[in-house]
């Protein structure tokens, strides 16, 4: 095993917390010269309506990469069927083979009020690879 992550998976649903997580992963990935995989969980309606997150969120990712001077050729997408937690839990295995998974504290469907959403919490409990939970920009300092 390498001493530092070569492939970083970041949960990306376009929410403000996911953008924060992606920013952290790009800054860290650039420093570590790591490959970054944007992981998107495809739900029932995503499939029914044939939504492609790369088309819907590609512009946001390109802006983030430019802001963090992250080489876009080191970026790729993985769209997995399932809820966010189950898709992110599989990131250590094929086809992503991540050494580290990065998520925001709350996903798009998780309401404010709790410091950490259920997806991040379950991931931290059950992930076979290290997990980084990036605090929300709106989290109160304590």
């Amino acid at each position: 095993m390498s001493t530092h992550p070569r492939t970083i998976a970041v949960g990306f649903d376009g929410s403000p917390d996911a953008i924060g997580a992606c920013s952290w992963a790009m800054a860290t990935g650039r420093y570590l010269d790591a490959h970054l995989v944007l992981v998107h969980a495809r739900g029932l309606l995503d499939r029914y309506e044939r939504r492609d997150p790369r088309g819907l969120l590609g512009g946001v990712v390109a802006d983030l990469a430019a802001r963090h001077a992250f080489d876009p050729t080191r970026l790729s997408w993985h769209v997995g069927d399932g809820d966010a937690c189950s898709v992110l839990l599989r990131c250590g295995a094929a086809p992503v083979f991540a050494d580290l998974v990065v998520v925001g504290s709350r996903g798009r469907d998780e309401h404010a009020g709790m410091l950490i959403g259920s997806t991040s919490l379950q991931l931290a409990e059950r992930s076979p690879i290290p997990v980084v939970i990036v605090p929300s920009a709106t989290s109160a300092p304590y």
Binding site: L45, D81, G82, D83, R108, D109
Partner: protein, 347 residues
């Protein structure tokens, strides 16, 4: 004889453009009519599940939260799942329908039950709505039967894994959950190594199959992997989570099943019921209205022992090699889990 529930006016649980829509039950009713059952069709009044009946599978805080959310007008619960002002009473009726049908089957000691309800239920967790599902209808009925001392087999052939039902009965030795489903696919659970908790080892049988799977492969997976576990479990009741979104025309997934395959699966499942009046079919998914209508008719015809014309069964699709991998993965996991249980008992 087919015993089914009276379908309430469910038009209030609708989100324009959403595939889980009231027209689904219109298609189901049309499928029932196609059978021309006459006096052999018994329709019983709908009733709501009580809070105590729901509490066997759902957390009280979740029931309170869902009810309050609906009374405030509802909205999107998550990316897939919605609720409206009317969804709470309709979900309670959907959860109660199975209870009423099973009560009637028990009273008569004969017949087959058909629970025609929406919203569907098998993704609903103890504390969370998910995947179009608000309350876990089949689990509410299974839990009631279990509380009455029965041993309940749930066969789930919806194309999506019933993560909610699996989770609710994960550690329950009196409920056996068997699922065939496309994998990978939403909700992402349902791998063979999920075999049940330490108190209910081998209480879960997951049979994931690839996109394009045909009826022969689904049937073979059930026969080769699930049948021995079911024999050992010896159920006293059989409930079917009958989703029809594995039909080749359904837009939600990529199985290649025909209505004739559902008839074949239904015949197989009906053969597992230990006595007359101990089999009930619950509607789960199915979003192509034509496929839903014909698949419901084929399924119910089969469980009634009739042979109404349906599409020809399918065969030759992928997935046969997956069955062997499933057997091996289950066997190695069962060994590990039993060792873990022995170690815990020893300590």
């Amino acid at each position: 004889m087919l015993i089914t529930n009276e379908v309430p006016d469910d038009s209030g649980h609708e989100d324009p453009g959403h595939p889980e829509r009231p027209d689904r039950l219109v298609a189901v009713r049309d499928g029932l009519s196609d059978l021309g059952l006459g006096d052999e069709l018994v329709t019983i009044p709908a009733r709501s599940a009580t809070r105590l009946e729901l509490l066997r599978v759902h957390q009280g805080a979740y029931l309170d939260e869902l009810g309050a959310f609906c009374y405030e007008g509802g909205g999107d619960i998550d990316e897939d799942t919605y609720a409206t002002y009317d969804s709470w009473p309709l979900a309670q009726l959907a959860a109660g329908a199975g209870l009423a049908v099973v009560d009637e089957l028990t009273r008569r000691g004969t017949g087959v039950g058909f629970v025609a309800v929406r919203p569907p239920g098998h993704h609903a967790l103890a504390d969370r709505a998910m995947g179009f599902c608000l309350l876990n209808n089949v689990a509410v009925t299974a839990a009631a039967l279990r509380a009455a001392g029965e041993r309940v087999l749930v066969v789930d052939w919806d194309v999506h894994h019933g993560n909610g039902t699996q989770s609710i009965f994960w550690n329950d030795p009196d409920v056996l959950y068997v699922s065939t489903h496309q994998w990978p696919l939403f909700p992402g659970s349902g791998v063979p190594s999920e075999v049940g908790g330490l108190a209910a080892i081998d209480g879960i049988v997951n049979l994931p199959l690839p996109a394009g799977a045909t009826g022969d492969v689904v049937a073979r997976a059930l026969e080769e992997v699930a049948a021995p576990v079911i024999d050992a479990f010896a159920p006293t009741w059989v409930l079917i989570s009958a989703g029809f979104d594995g039909h080749r025309d359904d837009p939600m997934a990529d199985f290649a099943l025909s209505s004739g395959d559902f008839a074949h699966l239904a015949t197989w499942a009906a053969g597992l019921a230990p006595a007359p009046g101990r089999l009930a079919v619950f509607l789960e998914g199915g979003y192509d209205l034509g496929a839903l209508r014909h698949s419901v008719a084929a399924t119910l015809s089969a469980v009634l022992g009739d042979a109404t014309a349906s599409e020809a069964p399918t065969n030759g699709g992928p997935g046969a090699d997956q069955i062997g991998r499933t057997q091996r993965e289950r066997a190695s996991t069962l060994t590990l889990v039993m060792e873990q249980r022995a170690a815990e008992e020893a300590s």
